[in-house]
Assembly symmetry: C2
Amino acid sequence: MTDISNDRGTLTRRGFVAGTLATGAAAAAPAAADAARQQRARKPAGSGSTRRADVVVVGAGFAGLTAARNLRQAGHSVVVVEARDRVGGRVLNHDLGGGHVSERGGTFVGPTQDRLLALASSLKVGTFPTFDDGNNVYVNGSNRMTYSDTGPLGTAPPDPTIIAETAATVAQLDQMATTVPVDAPWEASNAASWETYTLERWVKENSASPNFQLLVPLATRPIFGAEPRELSLLFTLFYIASSGDEQNPGTFERNFDTRGGAQQSRFIGGSQLIALKIAAELGSRVVLGSPVRRIVQGSGGVTVYSDGVTVKAKQAIVAVPPALAARIDYEPILPFQRDQLTQRYGNGTLTKVAAVYDRPFWRDAGLNGSAVDTGGPVSATFDDSPPDSTASRGPGVIFGFVGGDNARSYAAMSPAARRAAVLNQYANFFGSQGLDARAFFETSWCGEQWTRGCPVGIPSNGTLLAYGPWIKQPIGRIHWAGTETSNYWNGYMDGAVRSGERAASEVQGEL
Amino acid sequence: MTDISNDRGTLTRRGFVAGTLATGAAAAAPAAADAARQQRARKPAGSGSTRRADVVVVGAGFAGLTAARNLRQAGHSVVVVEARDRVGGRVLNHDLGGGHVSERGGTFVGPTQDRLLALASSLKVGTFPTFDDGNNVYVNGSNRMTYSDTGPLGTAPPDPTIIAETAATVAQLDQMATTVPVDAPWEASNAASWETYTLERWVKENSASPNFQLLVPLATRPIFGAEPRELSLLFTLFYIASSGDEQNPGTFERNFDTRGGAQQSRFIGGSQLIALKIAAELGSRVVLGSPVRRIVQGSGGVTVYSDGVTVKAKQAIVAVPPALAARIDYEPILPFQRDQLTQRYGNGTLTKVAAVYDRPFWRDAGLNGSAVDTGGPVSATFDDSPPDSTASRGPGVIFGFVGGDNARSYAAMSPAARRAAVLNQYANFFGSQGLDARAFFETSWCGEQWTRGCPVGIPSNGTLLAYGPWIKQPIGRIHWAGTETSNYWNGYMDGAVRSGERAASEVQGEL
């Protein structure tokens, strides 16, 4: 099985042929499904039946589904309107055959992500440890080394030429992050100064080794889908502060680590199973394939117009990324502060790739499947094999993050070249068997019509300071959810769940 | 006459009342007209009559109108679809009564803006010099000085404490800008490094005097509607390079100056007259009050669906700012590179205020009506009196730019407090008669539904490098215009005209 059907060809300036517009890795298999659905569902906005509920939720990702579930459990009626033909948002299982699944989007769960863990537990979705026995691999040009993530740097590579600087810089960022209030990062005493720095500028001015500086994009590409030059220092510090909970201050390492970090565990049945189970509970309260086009609010209530259904409600929760929320037509128009926030909050640039092997052969060599590379296209890999796979029993799956500039150059390559580039990296990491993938699939979240970038929305320099509070400030009857609105684990599934819980509580106060 | 009807009240978290959603200065009189029109025109997207043309143009600002005019003159059929009830986009006359007009948006024209001048000339719209006899005023805290703009610094204040640093920094920026190709700023040899700096960071690291550093936002607020922390250094340098033409390299001073700069002249009858005259030529080819919702392209052509009309054409020109272009639903979806560009290209934050007096009293004191202030709300003023006004014959008009953080804090004030704050500044600049305005009006372009920020779209750090070419790269049958796509005078009316001319040429090659 080779699934690289997500390539729709290359754009040429004149040679337009229907279906060839999305360049490079722009369109994944789910995008194709979206497009097909769109053809079927093509109706003027606001057509279809009219439904009534206490609360209408826009978006059936983890945030919207959590909000709807909580409201229903509290006795309120809800309708969830979703553009796609499926639930889960940025979380999507991929069928490997034989009862096995892999994940095309959000995958992991780790310590302090308690709201996601509690939700999974209540839905009887179990977890299992990400495979982490053995050594990690680090590649920096021609330098390849293996190391254990049980050391003080965790998953960060203990390259002897930069180990001191890595430890010191991470400690410095973590310390700075302790001064950033997760509910109001713009109130940090140094907020105005930190908004003048991109992360890249700050690193250049606060480190000496070019070799260390190469390590920084290696982290930001998977974590943000961005280059360090695209990140405000204040937002970066907020993101670090956000990687924890009320009892445990956030740390950079928790973002990056498997052992003790955000990649520690996986969900049995795949992470999307959580969304699928909530959707099953909600039943016909979830309307699929129905993009929301317009939200009209007034003293009598709020009406959501979508391609397939119109919903009249008392309150609305919009649970989509800021860049997509901006594309809904609001009446009356939203305050300019909210609108300008959404103009400055573009989604990251992340493609996830995965190779499937007959078995997890890397385990033979004492490798755990985790690798990082200052080159590309892949910056970081993880063992994504099913829980019952062993060194001798497959399948074995390695997925990799291709983010930032790497994702952009990757999109310009042919499908065959993309596959070859990834498998060559895997062979360098894990041995020549890395070339012998029996399947290869990739998901460019930027090309997904109803996501348009992953893993998270990123405010530009100055945006948190200018408009930060508007990310979750209700506007009349409209409330905002989505991982971008979360104080903790912003950008992660856990943040989405927290935001859904918060929005549901907020709305209950208005009903 | 006191026209501050553009305030719709203050948002409260719970107290939603219809019509009170737009906060502070969010909604101007034209926004109210937009809203009224929207109520009348409320129909499902794609309803209304169907028209056919060689080219459909989205947006009747200077770019779209110029493109349509040129195409028509070349013998092609066109239809222009405009969301508002008027033409002109970010250019709008304001009737002062007695046959006099002032401008709520783009106003001036100056040397090297030859395409705008040629267009005006062909439409028999004349120009006259901006009033510039006498001294400018400079305020920095309690320090107030007057000076002549005939000196080497032009309009920049020759504050003796910072004059050397001002001259040196401007010269350095101008020199750096000479290395930025206006058609491809991302190809500058230092582009990658300059994208790591915000303008504020660069200034802090390349100047010594805090007093000089206070001067920088004084320039960026009127020019960009932004704080220096919101501007990529690369974009700033591109903007400087863009402020010229093929024969005359761009300079920072040309942005800021009246004498010899972009504020040198004004249009008789007001700048919007240019748009009104083109619209009169085009007649029923311009469809007003009809927001475009969806653009569908295929091998057979391109169809634009708007609230009032559907247009089938061979080619389309979308001539609206990137942040608004992002809100149109494209089928097939656009390549992710274009989409992510538009997610990272928010409009500036600019409110224009104007006070009307019985006569231009400041001329008595040998002042020319130009003032700059490191405080606020107003950063810079100009004499905007009609051409036949004299010191003894009115009306006298002073308009001011309130941009960036000043625009945000201004929006949080009450209408009465806003007026008082501006007039107090004017009194400090020009004398106590500044308090005796017979009329006061203001326009918050951020609150305009079909603009959502002024004067120009601003790419975040890293965006030009990542996605720069996509600002004007045609996608199938869709071509892009608007001042943000212009090589020269990007952000100005002249840039809009140039972009319309370029898009028309581009489309003619496809017809």
